[in-house]
């Protein structure tokens, strides 16, 4: 019961924060903070209470007992829909990231919100609850439910607390994700119904649907439905256009959540659902997906360099980074998959931090235009140093998380598709350009003496420090994270009955 409890804690905390607004404007953020810390404690307790070694076992995801934590309650037996939750190492990693970034988001919005702070914190917590649900749900119907549910509070975060062009951005975000979600719903129903016609009743359970024999054409269409929904969220080129708008217009905490966590749900969906459910279709589709990944890396980097709005720059850099994830996933071998997972974590941390810096700049300077900045280092050295750290993390400096991720992805990919790997490697160079450009435009150069700007305070440095430690840990000693993800990835890799394609299989067995 601890898994639904985790979601319920966040939901209830949100409601409580909303109510707390009646008492005072300060109380909601304390409630929110307490809720997330409570949820983290619960997650820690869940991880500790697991039977020893259960996370390390190479698991077969089709068997309920092989899930370290598994729960199934009847919900709508008419359609074989159950409240089915499961947690393994991968979920654990992503949940930890989610809650950690939840803390950061609350910290980053500590003084930013004047209007209805209670409802703001409530929406923040409800988004977190939706994301946690996505990472825990094993029933496809339930997964879809959480997938859609995290949108609504996010929509409100952007639409109510966003910046000048928020209506457009919020609407675009919602329409893109909701419309692609409908395709996924169709694909889910299609899959479940074909599963039913194969015998043994309708079921939306991931465990039952994995490894289903499907008519190739049908599998192809269903795979496309999933793929579109996930790559809109990821986002992959050319479905990324909602992302710069949404990130730019969202309040800081919203950007942190969007970049740090919501994008990861797309990657998680591809990894957990799209590829394992349709291995053959995915294998034939892999070249297309990988070219989209490469295109995303280069195009995102190019556009990032062209931006004058610092939030937009970071947003496009996300497109570029998530291209690596897409590449890593569709290379579908152990090395590249590991890389994709680490990239998810590293990107979540570094981008969230950069958005926090951008948000802090906007709060202090009331502009996001980098042409109006420059030389800020003199006024805010702590902020400058933190920015430099995360810019370096973002461009993939060895010793930080991003480097490990990109190296693993490229190494894995090289074994499969050397040309794609070569093209993607260009992204490393372009990343340097836009990342340093960001630093140069804002913090370096001649300072404007007339400008007064407060430096980062204790609260902000604490948040930054937390992320720095995490990134350093990922960069210097990624083994614990890899150990957590490895058995899951092995399980997923093997459960796809036939490896995607002959060359991939050869590469896959030699990590």
């Amino acid at each position: 019961m601890s898994m639904p409890a985790l979601i319920l804690v966040l939901l209830a905390g949100g409601a409580l924060a909303w109510l707390a607004q009646r008492a005072s404007d300060e109380l909601p953020r304390w409630v929110a903070l307490a809720t997330v810390i409570g949820a983290l404690a619960l997650l820690y307790y869940m991880a500790v209470e697991l039977p020893a070694g259960s996370l390390a076992l190479a698991s077969d995801p089709r068997q309920a007992p092989s899930w370290p934590l598994y729960l199934k309650l009847d919900w709508i037996p008419r359609f074989g829909i159950a409240l089915e939750f499961g947690m393994d190492g991968l979920s654990l990693l992503l949940l930890a990231l989610t809650l950690l970034l939840g803390l950061i988001a609350i910290a980053s919005s500590w003084t930013e919100i004047d209007f209805k702070p209670g409802l703001f914190q409530a929406n923040l917590l409800w988004t977190l609850a939706g994301v946690c649900g996505v990472f825990l749900a094993l029933d496809l119907f339930l997964f879809f439910l959480f997938w859609e549910l995290m949108l609504l509070p996010m929509y409100l975060l952007i639409a109510v607390w966003g910046h000048e062009n928020r209506a457009y951005a919020a609407m675009k975000f919602f329409i893109f994700t909701q419309a692609s979600g409908l395709l996924m719903l169709l694909a889910i129903v299609l899959l479940a119904w074909r599963g039913a016609s194969a015998g043994n009743g309708v079921s939306f359970s991931y465990l039952d649907l994995l490894g289903l024999e499907l008519d190739p054409r049908l599998a192809w269409f269903a795979m496309l439905g999933f793929f579109l929904a996930f790559t809109v969220k990821l986002p992959a080129f050319p479905l990324h256009t909602w992302l710069p708008d949404a990130h730019t217009q969202a309040p800081t905490a919203g950007s942190v959540l969007l970049a740090g966590i919501l994008l990861k749900t797309g990657a998680y969906g591809l990894l957990r659902f799209c590829i394992p459910l349709f291995p053959e279709a995915s294998a034939t589709f892999a070249p297309v997906a990988m070219s989209l990944g490469v295109a995303g890396i280069l195009y995102g980097a190019l556009l990032a360099f062209a931006q004058t709005d610092c939030k937009r720059l970071v947003a496009y850099s996300s497109v570029s980074h998530m291209g690596f994830v897409l590449l890593g996933l569709y290379a579908w071998n152990h090395l590249a998959l590991q890389g994709a997972v680490v990239q998810m974590l590293a990107h979540g941390l570094s981008t969230a931090a950069l958005f926090m810096v951008a948000g802090a700049l906007q709060q202090r300077l009331h502009t996001r235009d980098m042409r109006a900045m420059g030389g800020l280092w003199h006024q805010a050295p702590r902020m400058g140093a933190a920015t430099m750290f995360f810019v370096l993390a973002s461009l993939g400096l060895p010793g930080l998380g991003g480097f490990v991720a990109e190296f693993l992805v490229l190494a894995g990919l090289f074994a499969v598709q050397p040309w794609f790997a070569a093209a993607a490697a260009l992204g490393l160079i372009t990343a340097v350009i836009y990342a340093l450009w960001l630093l140069q435009q804002t913090f370096q150069g001649a300072p404007d003496e007339r400008r007064q700007m407060a430096d980062f305070g204790v609260r902000e440095m604490l948040a930054m420090g937390l992320m720095m430690i995490a990134l350093l840990w990922l960069g210097l000693y990624p083994q614990p994270a890899l150990d957590l993800a490895q058995p899951v990835l092995d399980g997923l890799h093997d459960s796809a009955l036939q490896p995607p394609a002959a060359p991939l299989a050869a590469a896959g067995s030699a990590p």
């Binding site: 949108l151 909701q178 419309a179 409908l182 169709l186």
Partner: protein, 481 residues
């Protein structure tokens, strides 16, 4: 007629008796609150009596009416929807009232019409119910608010709906000429005996379908919808959009099922085409509206299009159970949602001068002024979008399942495209509601009070319950099919 027959007919009898009593009450002791109370009492009693009537179900009472559990379920739903309409419109009606007690009488009568329609399995009772429903609606549209817009709407509806009724009647006359019977199942038997594809039969089917299609505003016959929705008083619009449409749809479904008109592929494929047109045109036209009532009118066209998908699924005999189940669930969810949405518009515009004109600005910042009412509209709109945890999602899911079951890919595609377009105009309303206070224009306060709050809360809970715990209703619908 024996005791069992009367028991089975109880809901209809209660409604008729209530209507007569209401008339007497209006004749001797006028009073808005008294009439509202009596109407509510009648409707609630009628709904409760369905529980007693169901003991006798299924029972053919006279050759005209079949009181089966399915019909009784919808009788209860209609009565409850009408009761909610009565309660929500109290403030609206009494605020501008020019002896408005007849409003309640007409509402009870049209509910009776709807109940007759869902239990009709004979053309005569179909026409009877249809006319009872429509004629009360003409008056309802014009009656409570004597200004130019409602009057125009009523005349428009009167003329066009009259034409539609005439078309339907002509269609039935042709059917009668071809088969010599008017009972649905006998019609089916006779049709089996005659050769399919006779032009006269197809013409008859098309005319019946066109007339009834008009009543639930499918695309080539939809032109009246926005004007009438716009002009009619908000509570009446809600009733018109939910109960009246559901009743007509159900009787059409029953006609098609009992007489097995699904054998006429051309006819059914025509419905498929109309469904696609309705989904696309309804959603596209709704994009252009800034008046919420007009927007909901177009969106209701689209929703009827989604629902019509069921007809295509029914072609295969094996899929019919699921299709009818989906339609029933969809209708109940839709009625709850629409009653909530228009109930809110009623409350918002209750004390406004130009009451039939609810623009987007009128709900601007509603979240911060009236959180409960805003939540009601929010939940209703999300249900119309089909966001999980609301009734609308399960309903749409049901339809998707039915369509996948029947392999209707084109219709599914239209459903997806239509829903995707729909997101924009629903979310726009939500955006307006969430605008910050400094941007809002000053306007009349919406209706308020304990009853309104309780009802709004109850509607929210119903929509959410239908979305989160659908199993009991699903199981019940399945058990009575």
């Amino acid at each position: 007629m024996n005791a069992a027959d009367f028991q089975a007919l109880l809901p209809l009898l209660v409604l008729s008796g209530g209507a007569v009593l209401l008339m007497l009450q209006i004749a001797f002791v006028r009073g808005v609150n008294r009439s509202a109370a009596l109407a509510t009492l009648t409707l609630v009693l009628a709904a409760l009596s369905c529980a007693s009537a169901v003991e006798q179900a299924p029972r053919q009472v006279t050759p005209l009416l079949v009181m089966d559990a399915f019909a009784l379920l919808f009788c209860a739903v209609f009565c409850l929807a009408a009761a909610v309409t009565v309660l929500l419109s109290g403030d609206y009606i009494s605020y501008h009232g020019d002896e408005p007690e007849e409003y309640f009488l007409l509402l009870v009568l049209s509910t009776l019409g709807a109940c007759v329609l869902v239990s009709a399995n004979h053309v005569a009772s179909l026409v009877l119910g249809l006319e009872l429903l429509s004629v009360s609606l003409y008056a309802l549209i014009a009656y409570p608010n004597k200004s130019i817009l409602p009057l125009e709407a009523a005349i428009k509806y009167l003329v066009l709906s009259g034409t539609a009724s005439a078309t339907t009647l002509f269609g039935f006359a042709l059917l009668y000429a071809a088969t010599g019977t008017l009972a649905f199942d006998a019609l089916g038997e006779q049709l089996t005996a005659t050769a399919t594809g006779r032009p006269m039969l197809l013409l008859a089917g098309a005319m019946v379908f066109a007339g009834l299609g008009f009543k639930f505003s499918l695309v080539p016959f939809h032109l009246w919808t926005p004007d009438v929705y716009h002009g009619a008083p908000a509570p009446v619009t809600g009733f018109l959009a939910s109960v009246s449409k559901a009743a007509v749809f159900l009787v059409l479904l029953r006609l098609f099922l009992d007489a097995d008109l699904f054998r006429y592929r051309i006819l059914v494929e025509l419905t498929g085409l109309i469904a696609i047109l309705s989904m696309l045109a309804g959603n596209l036209l709704a994009l252009l509206q800034t008046n919420i009532k007009r927007m909901l009118a177009y969106s209701s066209i689209a929703h009827m299009g989604y629902l019509l998908l069921v007809f295509m699924v029914c072609i295969e005999r094996d899929n019919r159970g699921l299709a009818v189940e989906a339609a029933a669930y969809y209708l109940i969810a839709y009625i709850a949602t629409i009653i909530a949405a228009f109930g809110l518009l009623t409350l918002v515009s209750a004390r406004q001068v130009e009451r039939e004109d609810v623009q987007l600005q009128h709900v601007s910042g509603l979240f911060w002024r009236q959180p409960l009412l805003a939540c009601l509209l929010l939940v209703a709109l999300l249900s119309l979008v089909g966001v999980p945890l609301t009734a609308g999602f399960i309903a749409k899911f049901y339809l998707v399942v039915a369509a996948v079951d029947g392999s209707n890919w084109v219709l599914l595609g239209a459903l997806i495209v239509g829903s995707a377009i729909g997101i924009y105009y629903y979310m726009r309303v939500i955006y307006y509601m969430s605008r910050k206070p400094e941007q809002q224009v000053s306007q009349a306060a919406p209706a308020d009070g304990l009853a309104v709050r309780v009802l709004s809360g109850a509607l929210i809970v119903i929509i959410l319950l239908l979305g989160t715990v659908p199993q009991p209703l699903m199981a019940y619908i399945r058990s009575i099919l």
